[in-house]
Every structure is written in C-alpha cells, then in structure tokens.
C-alpha cells in the first residue's frame, strides 16, 4: 500500500514552497515568473515520482468537482441507456465524470436526488424532469448551476433544453398514415401530461383534423405492467373494430400493442398498420419490420452534453439559455405497407 505523494511532499523534497509547484503544474510558470530552471526541475521530479494532484483537494479549494449529474427517467430503458453511453463518452473526453441516477419519473424521488447531487457539488446537471419539478429546477438555476433539460422541458422556465421536435415528428407520422388512405387511425399514449407526450398528441390531432379523420385516443396508465397493457389494448381493439391503423406513442406501448394485435389474430400489415414512436433495435428485426419515428439518440445526447459543457465553460454572466430542437427521422418499414 504505497501512499500517494502530495504537493507538500514535493515541496519538502525540493525545498521549495507549495505555491511554486502549484503554479508550475497549472501552467502559470511564466505568468508567475518562475525560472525555467526550477520549472524543469519540478516537472522532472513529478515525472519521476508519478505525482498526481488530488482531485478532492482541488475541488475543495476551487469549488469545481468536474462532475456532471445525469438524472434520467430510467437507466435501464433502451433510449436512456443509449443516451448515457453517448453522454459518458463526450463528458470523459472533457475531463468530466458522471453521477447518474434514475428518477423513475417520481417527483419525490427526484427532489431527493437533486438535493443529493447538490450536496455532492456537481458542476452541472442534465435532467429529464418528471412533471411538476418547476420549482426545483428554477432553484438550481437561481443558484447559478448550469442545467440542461432533456427529452422534455417546462415552457414557463427559462432554462436550456434539448428535445426532439415531437410535434412535427408526430404530425408527419400521423399524416403518413392518413396519406396512405388509412381511415381510422388510433393513437395509443400514456396517461401523462409531460410535454413530449402532449406534443405527440397534438401532432397526431392536427394531422387527423387536416384530413378530416376521427380522433381516437386510448390512454394507458403510466407504469402499467406489460400484461395489463396488452389486456387493455385487446379490449380497446375489440371495441373499435373500425380501426385500421394504430400509432403508438412509445416503443414499449408498441410491444404490448403487437402482442394484443397478434392475440386478436389480426395481420400486420393487412388488417392493421402500426407505427411506433421511438425506434428500437428490435423493430428492424421483427417480422414484419416496424415503421417508427426514430429519435436520433446520439445527436440528442451529443447536443445535451455539448450545451452543458458550453455553459460550464462560461462565467455565469455570459451563459445564454440554449434551446435545441432536433428533428426526428421517420423510418418506413413493412408494418405500414398497403397490401393490395
């Protein structure tokens, strides 16, 4: 168990002061008029004895931890796991480490987690906020903490965010079905008032209105277990026999939807066309392949962390709110084919 060497040890060994060493390490040698001879000597000593400054001590004195708090709905979810992967990569390239946590979309848990991150002095936050966290987010902003909301946002709060253009993406997907002569298009969504869900619904509604089609919406309780959802959807489809296309607001709703449709013995495509919002690796491998609105995850993640880094690199007064809206990709696959 070799104990690590500290800046004080070097100071003693070379018989110079800690400050001198600190200046040299931080590249302030010339500025502070340290002779190149001494600079050389110190750097060599460091090199030979493998010194690394303690991040803890640095953090304590500078107030910066070089830690980013990543609060997402659920790390085990495909979409967020992908997010985490991309964010991690860029954060590490920039010398940041990441604390992650899953909010489970629970306001109380989220409140606690924000407090925990705050206690740990994270330098900045990337958050997919549950509904109703306005006060907490605002208080982070008031403290001067860089915050980037992700996936959803609060219209009433002046914070940076990175989101998908849910409205347009949803409109386009719905319009596609309508343009292809599907006449009874159902929208299966979550019973949630989060901004992204609301936008998806609005996009669907607009497309229906433009085509003079009926709005058929079925809401699934948030956090339902899949089996329950399947049951509810079977019931729904039985009661709405005229429905010839189903548009699911999330990919896991589509999973349950497909099960329900299969249970009813309907054919995809043929009896029923389907589209899922939020692509999944499986949609491309399932038979039939499933048409989806794809979120460009790597771009969303990249934008989020880049916006946060740009905030972190600027002094408080220069930080401008950045609102990024990323367009979705519409991937047409077999599940929306029009059979002759």
């Amino acid at each position: 168990m070799i104990k690590k060497i500290s800046i004080g040890d070097i100071a003693t060994a070379l018989n110079i002061s800690k400050s001198t060493i600190s200046f040299i390490i931080n590249g302030k040698g010339k500025e502070k008029r340290i002779s190149s001879a001494l600079t050389e000597k110190v750097l060599q000593y460091i090199d030979e004895n493998g010194y690394k400054p303690s991040r803890l001590a640095q953090s304590l004195s500078t107030g910066k931890t070089m830690i980013i708090g990543l609060m997402i709905e659920k790390i085990s979810d495909y979409f967020f796991a992908q997010m985490a992967y991309h964010i991690e990569e860029i954060a590490y390239q920039n010398g940041y480490k990441i604390f992650y946590c899953s909010t489970d979309n629970d306001p109380d848990k989220t409140r606690e987690l924000i407090q925990l991150f705050r206690d740990r002095n994270v330098d900045g936050y990337i958050i997919t906020p549950p509904a109703g966290m306005e006060k907490e987010i605002q208080s982070l902003l008031d403290e001067g903490s860089p915050v980037v909301l992700f996936d959803r946002y609060y219209p009433d709060i002046e914070s940076s965010y990175v989101i998908l253009d849910n409205f347009k993406a949803s409109y386009n997907a719905s319009k596609y079905l309508a343009d292809n002569a599907f006449a009874h298009i159902a929208f299966i969504t979550l019973d949630s008032n989060q901004s992204q869900m609301e936008d998806r619904k609005q996009g669907y509604a607009k497309a229906m209105a433009e085509h003079g089609l009926e709005v058929i919406i079925e809401k699934i309780p948030y956090g339902n277990d899949p089996a329950q959802t399947v049951k509810q959807l079977v019931r729904f489809l039985r009661q709405n026999k005229r429905v010839d296309a189903v548009y699911f607001a999330t990919n896991y709703l589509a999973f349950s939807g497909v099960k329900a449709i299969n249970q009813l013995g309907y054919k995809i495509p043929g009896t029923m066309a389907i589209i899922a919002f939020d692509d999944h690796q499986v949609f491309d491998f399932y038979e039939p392949t499933i048409t989806a609105v794809a979120q460009p995850i790597s771009e969303l993640a990249g934008q989020s962390i880049r916006v946060l880094l740009s905030l972190l690199n600027k002094p408080l007064e220069e930080r401008a709110v950045q609102k990024v809206i990323v367009p979705a990709h519409f991937i047409i696959r077999d599940s929306t084919a029009r059979l002759l």
Copy 2:
C-alpha cells in the same frame, strides 16, 4: 445565490469551536463528553439554518468519498443497463453515489478508466473486466481497494466476484436440445477468450459429448456489425445444411441469427430450433417466442453491490474474498418446440 453555511460559521455564531460541532454531528457527543445542553443547542441551530457538511471536505479529511466506480462493458447494452439500474438503487440506499463508465471491452481504455477512478478516490469498484486486465486488478487489490468482479473473473486472481453459472446453464440448455432429439446442434459464439464465453462453450461441449453429438462451433469476430454477422451466419448455415438447432452464446448473436434464418426461408420452429443465452424482453414478444437462458439480472446486480458494500464496511484485515456463483433460469418458449 445563497452561499452555504460551513461548520466554521456555526462555530462563530454560537461562539464554540468547530471540533465540538463536528463531534456532535457525528454522534460522538457522549463519548467526547459534550453536555446535552450544548448538543441540543447545536442541533437546533443546524436544523434551523439548514446546515449540511461538505462531502468534499469530509472526503478530504477522512479519505472516504462514498463513491463506487462501476465499470461495465457498455452501459447501452440491455444487460448492463439493467445491472446499472439495480446497483444504483442499492448503492443510493446506502449513501453511495456511482461513477459509471463503459470499457467497450478495450484493455487500453479500461486501464485509463481504472486510473481515472483511482485518481478520483472511489471507495470501491465493480468491474466487468476485459481479458488481460489481471495486473491492473491485482494492483487495485494490493492497494487495499475493495473490488468485485462481475460477469467474468480471473481464475488466477484472488478477488471477489459475482458470476452466473455459465457452464451449468450452458450445459443444461445444450442438453435440452439433445434430449429433444435435435441431432446437429450448432453453437454460435464470439471470438473471445473471456471466462464466461469459455464456460458457455465448455457446457455445450460436455452436453454434446455425453450425447455423442458432433460439436459444431462458429465464431463471430467480437465487435462485428450486425449486418456482417448476418452474412456470416447465412454462409455458415448454407454450408451446414444438417444443422437443425442453433444455440447462440449471446442475445444479440441470436438477433442476427434469426435474421439469417429468416433470409434462408427456414422456419422457427420446424426447420430450425433456436436458443439464446441471455434473455431479452423481445424474446417473449417475438413470434415465435424464443427459448432463452435467462440471467437473473436483479439478483446478480444485488449480489454484486452487496458483496462490495460488505467489503466497504469492513476494515482491510477482515475482508474475505467472496465468490458468488448464481444459477441461471432456463426459459422454454416456442422456438424449441418439436413440431409433429
């Protein structure tokens, strides 16, 4: 921007010393013979003014950061994302935060990441090590850092680990196919010498030997892109027409395998039975549903973090190496049915 109050501020305000406050906060009041009157007064002040000790300062002086370093192959992978979710939960319950990172199974990257975590003074590690990291892991152990290896381990190193009983699970799955009269069972695996992959191969080989069946193994290069894998598998199946069952060593190999099998126009089940190692939510939703060897992720994760916590809670000399081997669940679904 309200600046936080420090222990020094309280000391000044109450005109007592910092040490007294520190003792009280840490429950050493009686031990240090602080009067209950003063204790009460301090606690009340803290309560009223919302004081929280700085974790940074605590970490600096105690040497404990209450941070766990979680190094997994890839956070975006379903299995590891689930792991991360469960580990997070238990860690947070115990006051720990988590740094995560993805090794991508790259030894150089992993070496760097270990160094980064070490520099950050994480208290303990949970690691799914790439092949050839023996030296680095050993050096962590030599330093006295609690380490739990996960998913795979090094036979030559005396470290704690939590792994699946890959050999037995693989043996059982292979035996199931043989018992059900499949006669030419191929094993599709990765070109990797990691312990878990080796164990899976051995399990398969033993079952084949016991049934006097031919060993047919196809290795896919690690990190292949799925399209490449599909091509390779199509070629393999064309050249091995006698194969009537395929057993995939990972779930994503099975994804590519199903695509390949579909491309060839084979029926599952019927022409071909398949089993995948490592269950996936999709296997239960695909038509046909796919038989799989399921890793009890929540148990694996729970054991890992619990073993680590038990190490963290003990002084160095009391820490015993803990080797946990968890049995798998074999989930029989439609893809291995024997059609009449």
